[in-house]
Amino acid sequence: MSQPTTIANASGMPRTRFGRAYFRYAVEPWLYLSPAVLLICFVMLIPLFIGVSYSVQSINLLRPFDTGYIGLENFAELGDDKRFWTAMVNTFWWTFGSVTLQFLLGLGLAMLLTRPFHGKRIVQALVFLPWAVPTFLIALTWAWLLNPIIGPLPHWWAAMGILGEPYNILSNPETAMWGPIMANVWYGVPFFAITLLAALQSIPGELYEAAEIDGATPWQCFTKITLPFLGPMIAITVMLRAIWVANFADLIYVMTGGGPANSTQILSTYIFTTAFRKLDFGYASAIAVALLAVLFVYAALLLVIRAKLVKT
């Protein structure tokens, strides 16, 4: 497409042509964009600013006469709030556990699917299916699977000797976090498999052929060709996915509600329960700002790591 300025500045351009060019290059795109921009501004960006402003106010719908600016009081309260710090630590374990397992299983699946085999199409369709299941249903299904009254998992684990007796791991603070992590892994493996499969297929096949002729074992092919090729891409995908998982509250909220004894409370579920159950919007917004700050630090680290990866 030619530059708008060259058309507009060309000498002897009739006014009408100039008007039309101006319309075409400066007004027309905004005509198409305006509904999207207006909606995003009014439903997302302005509420975002309002939300940040709530964090320095006292806004609790249960105490309507107690409303007003209170400075950093909410944040001071956060410092003393044991639940908040527990949630911070839990957020780390939830994200780390989920993403690591999703990635490893996803990589395994992608490696299996790169090579042709009988029934590949149907296998592909079936293993990607969890990705399409609504998240609230994933949470309920796994909560039911883990329930000894109705689900088989506790009985199997007891029979295998993993559990002493068939009880619900979701009701034990020591083990509860594994429930949502399992559900999240089930849900997230297809995402990693799809992404990694696309990346694997971009590696030139000649490399593997040459390696095989030179007598390389499959393990050597994997560590010397596949991993170096996929390395940077893997790092970026994993780190971006971690942000998404850290914010992902649905599974935990439905499966445990953050309990028992806050053992599965992560920052995003804590924001939601504070806003939804206690209607304490000021405090919920303060937690949200804290989460945002954590993510910001993480993103900054990510950029530094990315710069290092690209250099080498």
Binding site: E28, A36, P47, G108, F117, F136, T141, L145, S268, A284
Partner: protein, 280 residues
């Protein structure tokens, strides 16, 4: 592959065992959901962990469909998801077209703002949204949900649509416009038919996203007759938590639209992945 290197039978067996393991892992939870939904109430406990129910019944589905509020929730969810999908796709197609075909001042800022909306935790705005919606008197209305969901999905849908438009050569519509078409005509006659798969994919993605959204719906909807399916199902679960068969029958119903969409889209997904594949 076979010419240069023949894998040992052990490796082949292991490979198929691993594939089978993945398929079982992916399907088992859904199988269990359907199994309990089809087991008669009297047999749920005596069957225990038996993999196959000793008798089948559609009673649970009959009760859920005819004797509960679930059809109302289902209808609400269909209305919300369809309207959201249609509105988002229309708006995102226009925006994606502008990104793909024009260079203009402020483009960078708009793209940056859209990326920003993808970065911050959405729960940050749940309280402000509640306040705004309630001050407009729009709590418990499906319209407010549709507007909110549409805004949430626009950034992703816009980038998706832009990538589809980028795949269509610009010359096509420019040729049509040189031949005397106006831009709207060129869009309708030349571009629209080529973008249909892209539009369908966007519709499907947004529909499933709206179908499974839970937390904002919980916040904004508290009246029974305005509940969407996720909210209704959770309310049902917390109220009648011993009615296993019916809960799972309702769960199976929630699965139906997503699975329909998935089987429609996964052909393209797999095709898109394998078309560029180098034969190993």
């Amino acid at each position: 592959m076979a010419s240069a290197f023949r894998p040992s039978p052990v490796m082949v067996t292991l490979k198929y065992a691993a594939i089978l393991g993945y398929v079982a892992f992916a399907l088992f939870p859904l199988y269990w959901l359907v199994k309990i939904a089809l087991t008669p109430d009297a047999l749920i406990f005596s069957d225990g962990t038996a993999l196959w129910p000793s008798a089948l019944t559609f009673d649970n589905f009959r009760k859920v469909i005819f004797q509960s509020d679930f059809m109302g929730y289902f209808t609400n969810s269909v209305i919300v998801s369809l309207s959201t999908a249609a509105a988002t796709t229309l708006i995102a197609a226009a925006a994606g077209y502008a990104f793909s075909r024009f260079r203009f001042r402020g483009k960078g800022i708009v793209i940056a703002l859209m990326l920003l909306t993808q970065m911050f935790p959405l729960l940050m705005i749940i309280a402000p949204i509640y306040k705004i919606v309630s001050s407009l008197g729009m709590l418990n209305s499906l319209t407010s949900l549709i507007v909110v969901y549409t805004a949430f999905n626009i950034p992703f849908a816009t980038f998706l649509m832009q990538s589809f438009f980028d795949g269509i050569p610009k010359d096509l519509e420019e040729a049509a416009m040189i031949d005397g078409c106006t831009r709207p005509q060129a869009l309708r006659l030349v571009i629209l038919p080529l973008t249909l798969p892209g539009l369908a994919a966007t519709l499907g993605f947004v529909f499933t996203a709206a179908w499974s959204e839970l937390l904002f719906a919980l916040m904004l909807i508290s009246k029974n007759d305005a509940m969407t399916f996720p909210v209704g199902l959770l309310t049902f679960v917390s109220k009648f938590s011993v009615d296993w068969g019916q809960m799972m029958a309702a769960g199976v119903l929630a699965l139906v639209p997503s699975c329909l969409f998935f089987f429609f889209i996964q052909r393209y997904l797999v095709q898109g992945l394998t078309s560029g594949a180098v034969k190993g």
